[in-house]
């Protein structure tokens, strides 16, 4: 089975997020972008399927910044091809525009299955997986936490609230949105990534025209205005521990 994996770069939420001068988008000057975590799970699921059934894994990403290390890491983990789609993505592009770019890039790639994260942390206009599936005319199942394959079909384990799973039989080719791979994403040692940097080739392809339609515009961005805020307990760990013991006692939680 030949699998294409799509990786989106998203703001690192650990860092402070600043809103730009327009007041309607993030300030990208110092914005640190990292690969979307669920996309890393999509890559892991693809590698697990390759180990079980053979085939190839091709990773595609839009060149929105420092993407090379992520692509070389994918090679070190076992990806066969890594492709960087270049274009003018300076201020970031929304998901509707991104899928038009991915659609073009995928025309030159043979695949039975496309895997990507169920969603990305900065999605506002739908998610890459279902939008791309609709554009390509392929079936889509999201919130997937495991995939098995037999007889040209796959069975996706789809997650519902409370940990309930629905098994869905999906005809190929198809797109799946991965919530979590069957196993935590594998770790590769730096030496293997260094080796990939020396030996592997990142293929580059031009994005071509970017169609922008279908997303609702953003008029204003802000930080959430909370109606309530936690009462903060000051002090070091020891003082906080004392305060919490007092609080728990008052609430009758220690009896």
């Amino acid at each position: 089975m030949d699998i294409a994996v799509l990786i989106k770069f998203v703001p690192d939420l650990v860092e402070e997020l600043e809103i730009g001068a327009s007041g309607a988008a993030l300030d990208r000057t110092f914005l640190r972008l990292i690969p979307n975590e669920q996309d890393d799970h999509a890559l892991e699921q693809a590698l697990l399927l390759k180990e079980r059934h053979g085939g190839t894994v091709t990773v595609l990403t839009l060149d929105t910044g420092d993407v090379d290390e992520t692509l070389f890491t994918a090679v070190a983990k076992g990806a066969d091809r890594v492709i960087k789609i270049t274009g003018d993505f300076g201020e970031g592009i929304n998901n509707h525009a991104a899928v038009t770019v991915l659609d073009t890039a995928l025309k030159n790639i043979s695949f039975d299955l496309i895997l990507t994260g169920t969603q990305a942390v900065d999605d506002l206009d739908g998610s890459i997986g279902p939008l791309l599936a609709a554009r390509l005319g392929l079936p889509y199942v999201g919130y997937v936490t495991g995939v098995t394959s037999a007889d040209g079909k796959i069975v996706a384990r789809k997650e519902y609230p409370g940990g309930l799973i629905a098994e869905m039989e999906v005809r190929l080719p198809a797109v799946l949105g991965i919530q979590a791979a069957e196993k935590p994403p594998r770790y590769v040692v730096t030496s293997l990534i260094m080796q990939a940097m020396k030996t592997a080739q990142i293929e580059e392809t031009e994005a071509g025209a970017v169609e922008v339609r279908g997303a609702a515009g953003v008029a204003r961005m802000s930080r959430p205005e909370a109606t309530t805020h936690a009462e903060l307990i000051e002090g070091d760990a020891d003082q906080v521990a004392d305060a919490l013991v007092t609080l728990f006692k008052e609430r009758g939680l220690l009896s």
């Binding site: 506002l124 279902p130 959430p224 903060l232």
Partner: protein, 330 residues
């Protein structure tokens, strides 16, 4: 084109899911603001009776077919897009959920309707429908107009209590029963069956006190500090998504969107940022205490008390002090 608002109902194994009532509450705000009607779109098989609980809508369109008995993205998308087509409503609301997100993108493209996702509240502003969406793990609010002529919207819980959408306006709404407008054969996604969640070692929904761990715990080894605290408190350890995805705890311990909804007497959130997916599973706990070094973490907007100290430094101290306090017969 009309000014009407439609809600796509979500059901699972004979039950209407809570997100539906949240959508109906939001839909009511929009329909009342636009002076239009609210329609609930229910798909299923022999499921007409469920329409009785959708009284917040002015009417229900019920599509019955054997292939709609259990959700599949293919059959549901085809049916929803087909039914909505004529006449096209102003707004279609979906849950930002496992079912809703599987179909909302496809339906929006089928209808050539702009799409906005993960909205928490909606309103009508100067005669135009307006969305307020939560993005970047709940750290950023994005808002704007819902463009016409038809706009597809997905909503997360938290903005409207399901009770608000459960209230019947005037008893059961009128139901129009219909067939799928397009043939539901040659489907590419088939439903095979359900797999029950593994019987957990602990039912966290029943635990009176929860010590809940998130990414801030950094390493699997550190989880034993939380286990020790839970043991002296007489509670259990639960977790947010990254901990379960790393395989550090079983999925039976997951709190939030795809896990359990919990309402313990104490919810101690350790190194949890409080993304909307997590918040929806724990915001109704009696007492929420958050410990997170990021003072801007959204968890502090839900918690009653918080401390921006290192979880790993706090845990041993807190465990010892509680042990001592209990030892004194506190």
């Amino acid at each position: 084109m009309s000014q009407d608002v439609w809600v796509v109902v979500e059901t699972l194994r004979g039950e209407v899911l809570d997100i539906t009532y949240t959508l109906l509450a939001a839909g009511r705000v929009l329909a009342d603001g636009l002076g239009s009607k609210l329609t609930a779109l229910l798909l299923g098989h022999n499921a007409e009776g469920w329409a009785n609980t959708l009284g917040a809508a002015d009417s229900v369109i019920y599509v019955d077919h054997a292939a709609l008995a259990d959700f599949t993205p293919d059959a549901y998308r085809k049916t929803i897009a087909g039914v909505i087509k004529e006449p096209t409503p102003r707004i279609v609301l979906f849950g930002h959920t496992s079912m809703g997100m599987d179909v909302a993108c496809g339906v929006s493209l089928d209808l050539d309707a702009p799409l906005v996702t993960s909205c928490q509240t909606v309103r009508v502003k100067d005669g135009q429908p307006w969305y307020v969406s939560l993005t970047c793990g709940g750290k950023i609010v994005a808002e704007g107009e819902m463009p016409g002529p038809t706009c597809a919207v997905t909503m997360i819980p938290g903005g409207y209590k399901p009770e608000a959408g459960r209230a019947a306006m005037s008893g059961a709404p009128p139901v129009t029963k219909t067939q799928p407008p397009t043939a539901l054969d040659d489907l590419r996604v088939g439903f095979k069956g359900y797999i029950e969640p593994p019987a957990g070692d602990v039912d966290i929904a029943k635990a009176p006190l929860l010590v809940s761990v998130g990414r801030g715990m950094q390493q699997q080894d550190h989880l034993k500090l939380a286990e020790e605290l839970a043991a002296v408190l007489g509670g259990s350890v639960s977790a947010s998504r990254p901990i379960v995805d790393q395989g550090w705890l079983p999925s039976s311990r997951l709190v939030g969107k795809s896990g359990k909804t919990v309402k313990p007497r104490l919810y101690l959130a350790l190194g949890i940022s409080g993304a909307p997916e997590h918040a929806e599973g724990m915001r109704d706990a009696e007492l929420i205490v958050a410990v997170n070094t990021d003072e801007k973490a959204p968890i502090y907007d839900i918690a009653h008390f918080g401390a921006a100290v290192d979880v790993l430094a706090l845990l041993p101290a807190l465990t010892e002090k509680i042990k001592a306090a209990k030892g004194r017969g506190a």
